[in-house]
Amino acid sequence: MIKKILIANRGEIALRILRACKDLGISTVAVHSTADADAMYVRLADESVCVGPPSPRESYLNIPAIISAACITGADAIHPGFGFLSENATFAHMVEEHGLTFIGPKAEHIAMMGDKIMAKKTVARLGLPTVPGSEGAVTRLEKAIATADEIGYPVLIKAAGGGGGRGMKVAHSKDEFVQAYETARREAGISFGNDRVYLEKYLANPRHIEFQVIVDQFGNAVHLGERDCSLQRRNQKVWEEAPSTVLTPEFRDKFGRKIAKSMSELGYLGVGTLEFLYENGELFFIEMNTRIQVEHPITEMISGVDLIREQILVAAGEKLSFTQDDIIFRGHAIECRINAENSDTFMPSAGKISNYHCPGGPGVRVDSALFDGCKIPPYYDSLIAKLIIYARNREQCLARLRRALNEYVIEGVDTLIPLHLRLANNEDVIKAHFDIHFLERIAEKEN
């Protein structure tokens, strides 16, 4: 069994992992940049190591520093969290080479799913539906034009090395295509060091639906249902729900089992999320995240499974403690990402937190490393807290969410709380009438 885990991350997810470790009786090592020396996750860790200056490249992305920190503290495993090194196959490989357990999938699967073309081919081979598009990369313009014609406009041009919404271009017609294609390739080359692009049908008004899976080393795979993460801004999720309002229990069960089965066949290990676009009753695979996700808590709320706990246990070689039939979904959960950003302009806002007061009572969970007087440095992601609301059904969940948002006090930085209040009171959101373009449409309307 794992005795000491180094948490190679910061902020709320580092604290979330630390809490799971404490619940399991596992010692913790926090790593931090000089900017995070006083952070809550550092304070609560059993040990901590400063790994570099504020710049992420020199601290949280500094592989030698992080592996050295694990070695000198005697940690036997590394949890990468999300972002930073969590989907870096080289890192995962090096961790294992140093005799440490990487709490995540095998390096080969990280690499496979990190290449968006390979990912799509793989899941198609496993029998899961994918968005109609080119078979792999399209390197010649003539071939690209022909394929685009075949798919039908609008067409999406995506970088093989992209992800999280980065490296995408839309061509609405043949006229736009050539320029969009050339630009996409050039940008992909600069951004990802890999100019391969592929084509996909551009869905007009899809929802973002993703399935959570977990697989142990014995091939036992369980799906934990789906999340609807359609409320996005510039492809960054802002508000997530579980379950979605568009899948029936029968569909969820059947499709979820199919996904679990395919992950077992693949030999996948640990937690993972398969992301789909949903339109007109159909799901189309877009990509897979080979790590724990920001929005994992809503799945925990409706399934009763502590995902990070189980993630650690399967990494340690344990068998899954539940089967698919043990999983009974109950109630509805919504997560609001509280980013340190202006609610109108989405400008990031650094500063010192004052008057911090978080909501409480039944059905309210706050995952955050904030405390009164803590500093939000300007160097990192703007996510500072997650407000997770649970209730028996969606209507009660929304009412409770409004109440909790009104109780939540964070001063010293701008936050997305006002945006979430607007959303929680928006008629379309109340009716769950939205798609991935919804948030940008209402932002336009308001400005």
């Binding site: 004052s354 008057n355 948002l405 009104n406 709380i417 006002p418 209040l421 009171n425």
Partner: protein, 155 residues
């Protein structure tokens, strides 16, 4: 030769005392060529501000209402204020058509009825605790009041 500096400790102490007394954080005092500056880090002055969570700026629920709407905040601290000693509805006259018990400028004598507070259908006659002149009336007839609300000034 070193310049002899005559520190005036009494002046500094006096300023420090003033600082404490007045709850200031800094005093700078200069007479001719003499200048004395005293400061104190007063956590008290910072903490209450930093510690009062208020509904966030984005709060879209109606603002909390206080049922009392005093005519003037300044007058509330007047030593002659008579406050509501119970929750209820205040009446300034004995009946709907009747003249008010007292008006501003009236001279009242101790024990004279000033107003009524109705609580649970019981009319409580509130009498003047001392003789004096009615300086101000904070409330309107039939207005609800809470414990401690200022009603009238007699001094």
């Amino acid at each position: 030769m070193a310049q002899q500096v005559k520190i005036d400790p009494d002046a500094v102490r006096a300023l420090a005392e003033l600082l404490r007394e007045t709850d200031l954080t800094e005093i700078e005092y200069q007479i001719d060529s003499l200048r004395i500056k005293v400061l104190r880090s007063v956590p008290q002055a910072v903490v209450p501000v930093s510690v009062q969570p208020t509904p966030s700026a984005a709060d879209q629920t109606p603002q909390k209402e206080s049922i009392a709407t005093p005519a003037s905040d300044n007058l509330e601290n007047h030593p002659g204020v008579i406050e509501a000693q119970m929750v209820g509805t205040v009446y300034l006259s004995p009946g709907p058509e009747a003249a008010p018990f007292v008006s501003v400028g009236d001279t009242v004598s101790q024990g004279q009825t000033l107003f009524i507070i109705e609580a649970m259908k019981v009319m409580n006659m509130i009498k003047a605790p001392r003789s004096g002149v009615v300086k101000h009336i904070f409330v309107k007839d039939a207005q609800p009041v809470e414990y401690g609300d200022p009603i009238i000034i007699v001094n």
